[in-house]
Structures are given as structure tokens and as C-alpha cells.
């Protein structure tokens, strides 16, 4: 077993021993240990007295809200950051990990949320990047391809190593990253939000792979926002909060609500707001919407949203939910269908025209499209509604007053109003993006992944806000990849598949299984 792929993967003696060790789990000594770790950045203590022991061949989950210190801890383990105080022990020996390269030599590999592959190079070239196989000082493609093929087979992946990485799907690219880590004989694999970019099916495949790697003796540190995933895939879970470790639990004995409570540090109460029944009055009616935009064709998308209703949109990544939202507000060209708001036909060609008809679209890409992160909170908040603060020159005082109102209402934790919103946390940035649209009081909201990358506390506040919008008689389209939140927040859920709506379910009768089957196109 420890020799899997070894005939062609010439492993150093140390690595070979490590794998053998890992399989032999008898040893009680933890594989990696962190003691009294402190990391200080100017002005804040990101990590405070961290003590953590990671066992051999375990899948160890790390959870915590944004800013809890998960990423900083992982950056220290993978050599990107240096600790201010404290020590790291591998196999009982203190080590200093001064760079990602040093981490690599110690057998620690990190798979970042944003994958670090070179698009233009082939799969094999990526796997051996920095440690190319050579013969006569030239890169030996044949040997690389053969070894890459072995490695990929080992993780159950059948990609031609000669293919360019850019031609692969995100899930396949992630597998290439994992193969790359294995090629360097990693014994500790750190995965940062690995499922954020994967569809449900790909996620299931990844979990199988994790279990397999574990059997092969690889230790995995698994960081995620998705508590259900963490409980499903991990042996033990460590909860972090405010730069400290709250507790390490056995995953089998822990529940999602317990983890959530530990993360937030207070009881969460009812996670989702109470649903107020919608009216019968249709506010948004979309009929046979079509759009030929690349890479996906929308076809025959029809649905209605009533006043006070929240209509969820579920589907796999690439099912066309974002494309649909963008087509409605004119960010994509429509080639068929009609849109009615309050009985009046509209045909917006840009968000500017959509806003005039009372339709707002909150982008899923908060940093890239939702906000101008280099501008301040005030400037972002009033960007759409700026006309209101012009008399005729912009009144900065009126602007700031309006922004302050939103800060209070939405509990935005921010410093100076005109500091770039880049400095805010994900949740607070999302609230600013919402405030921007609240300013123009749209009747129809299209919210695209409004809780992505947002911590639990802010998530709840966003659910509350959407609930209030509906209660005030607005029609909300709620696009999300998190089924529990769709089931918890929405009245009805539309499931999209390959550019069309597969079905629209009543939230009361829908289950995660039902939605998944519809989304994947499998019969229940």
C-alpha cells in the first residue's frame, strides 16, 4: 500500500519512512503539534496561544467565523507567514517553516481556495512544476507523463497528463493540485474551502478521495464554512474564535448546532427568520426567457414571484442561475421571452434601466462586481442613488448621514465611513452591497449568493433582512448553492438544470434529496 505509485515515483528515504509511519497508526505521538503559537499583525493579535495536536492519518476539520484565525494558522503551517511566538513540532521534533518551499520539504502541502496552477501548461508540467524530471538536463516529458498518470490514477482521476490545465473543469484542476501535493510526498494536506468551487456531485467525489487518501496514510486539515460537510468528512473538528481555539471535538459526537454555537460564542436562537405567507399578487413574471450567452444557453425560463414572496433558485454550478439573473437586468443579451413587473412589460438593456423599473441585482461576485472596494463605505452606499444627494453638488454630509443610517440598521462593523471597503470583512462588505440597493428601494430583488463567504452571524442578519424585504411586499429571487438556507428562507424553490428550470417546488414539500435529484437530472 505504501508503495502505491512508487515504482515510478522515486521517493526519498525520508518520505518512504513517513508513509510507512503514517500507515502504522500505533504510534500515539501526534504527527504535528502546535504549541503556544501567537501571531501578531500591526494592531491586532490574529492568533493567541494556539495549541493543537494533529494525529496521524486523520481528517481534522478547522471551523470558525471569518476572522477567527483559521487562514492565519494554515498560512503559518504552510510557511507563508511566520509565527510571532510559539513552536511547531513534526514527529516530536521542533521545526521552523520559513517558506512554502520549506513546508514542501517537511511534507506539508496546501491547496488554496484559489487554485495555483499555471493555466497554459499541461497537467504533468504543473504537477512537476519546480521539481521537473530531467534527463541530460532537459525536461523528460515521457517520465513526467507516466508518473503523472500514475498519480492521477491513484486519486481515481483519468485525465490525460498532456492536456492543458486551462481546458480542465475547476474540479479537475483541484484534483491536479492534489496530485501535485502527492508528487511532493505530502504527509499533511491542508485544504482551504475545497468545496467552495465544486458542485454537489464533485463534492461527493472529493469526500471519497479524502477517505482514500486517509487510508493511504495522508493527514488532512480541512477548513470549511460548511458545518455539515465538516461533520461528514472529518474525524475530529477544532473550533476557532477570535484567534483562539475554543475546543476540539470528536466529529461523531458533535452536531452542527453545537459547532455553530461554539463558533459564534452565543446561542443562535432560530437560525432562519419566520416566513410570512406571500400575497397572491404577482409582482415579477418571467416568461420563456432565453439567452445565448456563452458558455451557457438559457432556454424557456419561466417563473413568477409574488409580492412578499422569496423564490429560491437551486442548481449546480453552471446551471445558469447567475446568467438568468444577469439576463433579467440586461447584463446579458436576451433573445427570447418577456419580463413583467407589476403587470408592465419591461426590457432593460442595462442595470441602469432595470433600476428604473425597480429591479435590483446583487452580484455573486462581491469584490469583482458588487462593490468598488477601493472606495469608501459612503461612496459605495450612495453609488446608485447619488442623484438624491446632489443639490446640485454632492452634499457629503447628507451622504454620510445616509450611510450612517445603514451602518446602524444593518449592524455594519466599520471604521471610518470613507475608508476603503476593502478593509471590511466579507459579511460587512456584503451588507454594504445590500445597503447600496436598499438605497433605491427596488420592488424586485435578485440576490445572487448573498451569503457566500459570509460568517454565521452576518448570514443570519442577511436572512432577516431578506425576510423583512418580503414582508414589506417586495418580490425576492434568492439564488444560493446552500440547500439548507434555501429550504429555511424561501417560500418556493426553483431548481435549474442546464439553462432551464427543471421544477419549482414548494419549500414545505422540498427536501435536499429531491432538489439534488432535480438539479443533477437523476430520477429519484
Amino acid at each position: 500500500m505504501s508503495d502505491a505509485g512508487s515504482p515510478t515515483v522515486p521517493s526519498s528515504a525520508a518520505a518512504r519512512a513517513a508513509v510507512a509511519n503514517a500507515v502504522d497508526c500505533a504510534s500515539d505521538r501526534p504527527l504535528a503539534e502546535v504549541k503556544g503559537l501567537v501571531k501578531e499583525f500591526p494592531g491586532i493579535r490574529a492568533l493567541d496561544d494556539i495549541a493543537l495536536a494533529i494525529r496521524r492519518a486523520e481528517v481534522h476539520g478547522i471551523v470558525g467565523e471569518n476572522g477567527a484565525g483559521k487562514s492565519t494558522l494554515m498560512k503559518i503551517l504552510s510557511g507563508i507567514e511566520q509565527p510571532s511566538v510559539g513552536s511547531i513540532l513534526l514527529d516530536g521534533t521542533p521545526v521552523t517553516i520559513t517558506s512554502p518551499h520549506a513546508a514542501d520539504r517537511q511534507g506539508i502541502a496546501m491547496i488554496h481556495q484559489e487554485l495555483n496552477l499555471v493555466d497554459e501548461l499541461s497537467v504533468a508540467d504543473n504537477i512537476f512544476l519546480g521539481r521537473e524530471r530531467t534527463r541530460w538536463r532537459l525536461v523528460h516529458d515521457g517520465s513526467q507523463h507516466a508518473t503523472a498518470h500514475e498519480l492521477l490514477k491513484r486519486i481515481g482521476c483519468d485525465i490525460d497528463p498532456r492536456r492543458a490545465v486551462k481546458s480542465l473543469s475547476i474540479a479537475q484542476q483541484q484534483l491536479v493540485e492534489i496530485a501535485k501535493a502527492l508528487a511532493s510526498h505530502a504527509r499533511i494536506l491542508i485544504m482551504d474551502e475545497p468545496t467552495a468551487v465544486l458542485s454537489e456531485r464533485e463534492t461527493a467525489a472529493l469526500f471519497e478521495l479524502i477517505a482514500q487518501l486517509k487510508r493511504q496514510g495522508v493527514t488532512i486539515l480541512y477548513i470549511s464554512h460548511h458545518l455539515s460537510e465538516v461533520l461528514a468528512v472529518c474525524d475530529r473538528v477544532t473550533v476557532m474564535r477570535d484567534g483562539r481555539i475554543v475546543r476540539t471535538l470528536d466529529a461523531k459526537a458533535a452536531s452542527e448546532s453545537e459547532l455553530a454555537r461554539l463558533m459564534v460564542g452565543r446561542p443562535l436562537g432560530d437560525y432562519y427568520p419566520k416566513r410570512v405567507p406571500a400575497t397572491e399578487d404577482v409582482l415579477l413574471r418571467v416568461r420563456d426567457l432565453g439567452s445565448a450567452a456563452t458558455p451557457l444557453t438559457l432556454e424557456g425560463v419561466s417563473f413568477e414571484v409574488r409580492r412578499g414572496e422569496i423564490l429560491g433558485f437551486a442548481g449546480l454550478i453552471g446551471a445558469g442561475r447567475t446568467e438568468m439573473g444577469e439576463a433579467i437586468v440586461g447584463l446579458r443579451r436576451r433573445n427570447a421571452g418577456t419580463i413583467e413587473v407589476d403587470g408592465r412589460m419591461i426590457a432593460p438593456r442595462s442595470p441602469r434601466e432595470a433600476v428604473r423599473h425597480g429591479v435590483a441585482y446583487l452580484s455573486e461576485d462581491r469584490q469583482g462586481r458588487g462593490l468598488t472596494v477601493d472606495m469608501g463605505l459612503t461612496e459605495n452606499t450612495t453609488l446608485v442613488s447619488l442623484r438624491r444627494y446632489c443639490r446640485p453638488l454632492i452634499s457629503r454630509r447628507a451622504e454620510d448621514a445616509a450611510a450612517r443610517g445603514h451602518v446602524e440598521r444593518l449592524h455594519i462593523r466599520a471604521g471610518a465611513l470613507r475608508r476603503p471597503v476593502r478593509t471590511l470583512s466579507g459579511g460587512n462588505q456584503q451588507k454594504v452591497a445590500l445597503a447600496k440597493w436598499l438605497e433605491v428601494e427596488p420592488r424586485v430583488w435578485i440576490l445572487d449568493e448573498p451569503t457566500r463567504g459570509v460568517d454565521i452571524g452576518a448570514k443570519r442578519e442577511i436572512y432577516d433582512l431578506v425576510g423583512q424585504l418580503a414582508q414589506r411586499g417586495m418580490a425576492c429571487v434568492f439564488i444560493s448553492s446552500e440547500l439548507p438556507e434555501l429550504l429555511g428562507v424561501c417560500h418556493r424553490i426553483a431548481v435549474m438544470r442546464e439553462g432551464s428550470i427543471a421544477a419549482i417546488l414548494d419549500a414545505a414539500q422540498a427536501t435536499e434529496e429531491k432538489i439534488m435529484h432535480l438539479a443533477a437530472g437523476v430520477n429519484a
Binding site: 442595470p351 432595470a354 458588487g370 468598488t372 472596494v373 472606495m375 461612496e379 446640485p392 454632492i394
Partner: protein, 385 residues
């Protein structure tokens, strides 16, 4: 720590301002040390610098908007040459019969200076235009000629800017490429219309008033030995520069347009998603710099009472961009200040003048200018990107 916080709170233009103050101090000290007095600080000299650089300054205000928007305009220098030439051509075509002997002499001089050119030369253009004006009944009137020429220059600049903006916004051309086209095309037009020669105004006094005159400053006298006191003039181009800078400040900081320019420069995609009419703002911005280039051309043509088809406005684009960059505006857009740009213009002016006064070779001035530009950008790199 307290010092760091203080430095952080300083506006973006603080560094260029300090540089300007140091530069002036150095100039004066060096001068006093070598010659015992300072020619630099004389009112006449300062006004000369200001007037000479106000043309660049006026365009630099427009360029600040363009660069904050995330664009660039390389066509301004050629545009100044072309628009200036077009203006004088218009002027001469209306003001056909020289009203004064002085003007007649000028015209004769002009012909003697090598404009006995074949058809297609200024005379060709001029006579064609004269015929058109005559048909409208506005021939041979100096006042009308000057007024129409001024209008033509402003309109031509504006239209050229609008063309750039449209190519960039609607034609999706990279600003560098679109305006590089303008750089080549307008200079070529200017050269072709004058057949490589010079445009000379036939209005000796009236046309030159704007560029050469100014507001007399009371209680000053630049000619102590003259029978009557000759007051120092606050030159009109400088007045125009100050007004343009003030309006530019208001426009950038206190209007929706200015806010949108900044937003587009920060993140164009987010601006589209935020219901901003990005194309319109882009076209407006290039139109603005086109108008300001026309205005600068007008003042420059009036100041010289002539335009050289090859020289006028030559390499202005570089001085203009340098001023904006020295003033702390971020080259990739999203952030910049009018105050900084004004300081940037002054720094360039002082450097040139200082090197002249200190009798440094003219050929070395570009080296100093280049070093200052690179230093300014290096200094900006300290800030978080």
C-alpha cells in the same frame, strides 16, 4: 506611531507639495549663493513660468479625469497643433484684407518666409474658406474673424475629444491605441494644411490680446524708467488655468460625474453593475479633455500669434501626463487629485526655470524631468496598492 498616523492622514498631494517647496527653496538658495540675488523670485519670472505652463496645466486638469477614469490620452499634443492651426486658418480666411499696415507687413513676411507654396498650401485652404465665409456675409471683419476662430478652436477640440471617447467607449478600443491614432493623425493634418510651415495670424492686436494680455496688478511697475508706470500683468492664460482647476476640483469631488469617473477607474465592472452609464461617462471625459486641449490651443495660438505645424504642442502629452503622475494620481485609475496635478505642473515649471537660471544645459533638462517622474512613481509605490 503618532508620526505614522499623522503621515497617513495627509492628503495625497502632500508629498508633491513638499517636493515643490523644497525645489523652490533649493533654487533660491543656489541662486543667492552663486549670484547674490534671486531672479527666480521676481514677479515677472514667476508669471512667465505660470503663463508658459498654464497651457500644459489646462490640459493636465482634463488628463487627471482621464487617468482617474483608468484611461490615457496621447493625442492632446498633436490636437493642440492641429486646432491652433485650424483657428488661425479660420481667422485669416475671414480677416482677408489686412486692416492695418502692420498686419500687411506680417502677411508679406509670411509669404517671404516660404509660403509661396503650390496649391493645397495655406493659401489654397484659406481662399476656399474665405469664399465660404464671404457667402455667409462675414468676410473681412477682424472682430468677427477672431470670435469665429475662437469658437472654431473650442468646437474642433471638443469634437476631436468626443471622437476619441466614442472610439474607446463604443468601439471598445484601448485608450492607448485610440489616442495614439490621434497623436499621429492630428499632427499630420496640421502639417498638411500648412505644408509643414507656420500658421501666422493676420490679426495683429485683437487675436493676441488673450494670450499676451492680462489683468494689471495695481501698485506694480515693471518699467521704472518709463515715463508712465507699466503695471505687472496677471496673464490671462494663468487666470484661465486657475478657473479650469477650480471647476475641475468641484467637478471631480462634488458632482455625480466626478464620483462616477472615480468609480469606473476603481472597478469598471462594478460600475456597470451599479447602474452607471459607463459609456456616457467615458465619452464625456474624453470630450472634456478635447475641449480643454482646444482651449489651450486657443491661448497658445493667441500668445504666439502663430502656430508652427511641426512644433506647437509637440510632446505636450508627455508633460501633461508627467504633471498628473507627479501630482500623485494613480496611473491605473481610481484615485487622483486636482490639487496634486496643479502642484505637478508647478514642479515641472520650476524645474525648467531653475535649470535655465542655473545655466544647466538645455539638453540635460529632459534627464532631470525624467528622474523626477520616476521618483514620483517610486514614492507612490510605498502606498498600498
Amino acid at each position: 506611531m503618532a508620526i505614522m498616523r499623522f503621515i497617513e492622514r495627509l492628503p495625497r498631494w502632500a508629498a508633491p507639495l513638499i517636493a515643490l517647496v523644497l525645489l523652490v527653496a533649493c533654487t533660491v538658495i543656489l541662486e543667492v549663493a552663486t549670484k547674490g540675488n534671486s531672479a527666480f523670485l521676481s514677479g515677472q519670472n514667476l508669471f512667465n513660468i505660470l503663463r508658459q505652463w498654464s497651457f500644459v496645466g489646462i490640459i493636465a486638469i482634463g488628463m487627471t479625469f482621464v487617468i482617474v477614469l483608468g484611461g490615457i490620452d496621447l493625442s492632446v499634443g498633436s490636437l493642440v497643433g492641429f486646432v491652433g492651426g485650424l483657428g488661425i486658418l479660420t481667422l485669416n480666411s475671414i480677416n482677408t484684407a489686412p486692416a492695418t499696415t502692420a498686419a500687411a507687413t506680417t502677411a508679406a513676411e509670411a509669404i517671404a518666409a516660404g509660403r509661396n507654396a503650390p496649391p493645397g498650401s495655406p493659401h489654397g485652404f484659406e481662399s476656399l474658406m474665405a469664399a465660404i465665409w464671404n457667402s455667409f456675409g462675414v468676410g473681412d471683419n477682424e472682430t468677427a474673424a477672431v470670435l469665429i476662430a475662437l469658437a472654431v478652436m473650442l468646437v474642433a477640440g471638443t469634437l476631436a475629444g468626443m471622437l476619441n471617447g466614442t472610439l474607446i467607449a463604443k468601439g471598445r478600443l484601448a485608450p492607448f491605441i485610440a489616442t495614439l491614432g490621434g497623436l499621429a493623425a492630428y499632427r499630420s493634418l496640421a502639417l498638411a494644411m500648412a505644408d509643414g510651415g507656420e500658421y501666422r495670424s493676420s490679426s495683429m492686436r485683437l487675436f493676441g490680446l488673450i494670450g499676451q494680455g492680462g489683468i494689471p496688478i495695481p501698485f506694480t511697475n515693471v518699467a521704472p524708467r518709463a515715463p508712465q508706470p507699466v503695471p505687472l500683468l496677471f496673464p490671462w492664460p494663468v487666470v484661465v488655468f486657475i478657473i479650469v482647476a477650480l471647476l475641475g476640483w468641484v467637478l471631480l469631488n462634488r458632482t455625480r460625474y466626478g464620483r462616477y469617473v472615480t468609480a469606473i477607474g476603481c472597478n469598471e465592472r462594478a460600475a456597470v453593475y451599479s447602474a452607471i452609464n459607463v459609456d456616457r461617462i467615458k465619452i464625456l471625459t474624453y470630450t472634456l479633455i478635447g475641449f480643454l486641449s482646444g482651449l489651450a490651443a486657443l491661448l497658445l495660438a493667441s500668445r504666439m500669434n502663430s502656430v508652427s505645424s511641426a512644433q506647437t504642442g509637440q510632446l505636450y502629452e508627455l508633460d501633461v501626463i508627467a504633471a498628473v503622475v507627479i501630482g500623485g494620481t494613480r496611473m491605473r485609475g481610481g484615485s487622483g487629485t486636482i490639487v496634486g496635478t496643479v502642484i505637478g505642473v508647478l514642479i515641472l515649471g520650476v524645474i525648467g526655470n531653475m535649470l535655465n537660471l542655473l545655466q544647466v544645459s538645455v539638453y540635460l533638462q529632459g534627464l532631470v524631468k525624467g528622474a523626477i517622474i520616476v521618483a514620483a512613481v517610486l514614492a507612490q509605490r510605498g502606498e498600498r496598492m
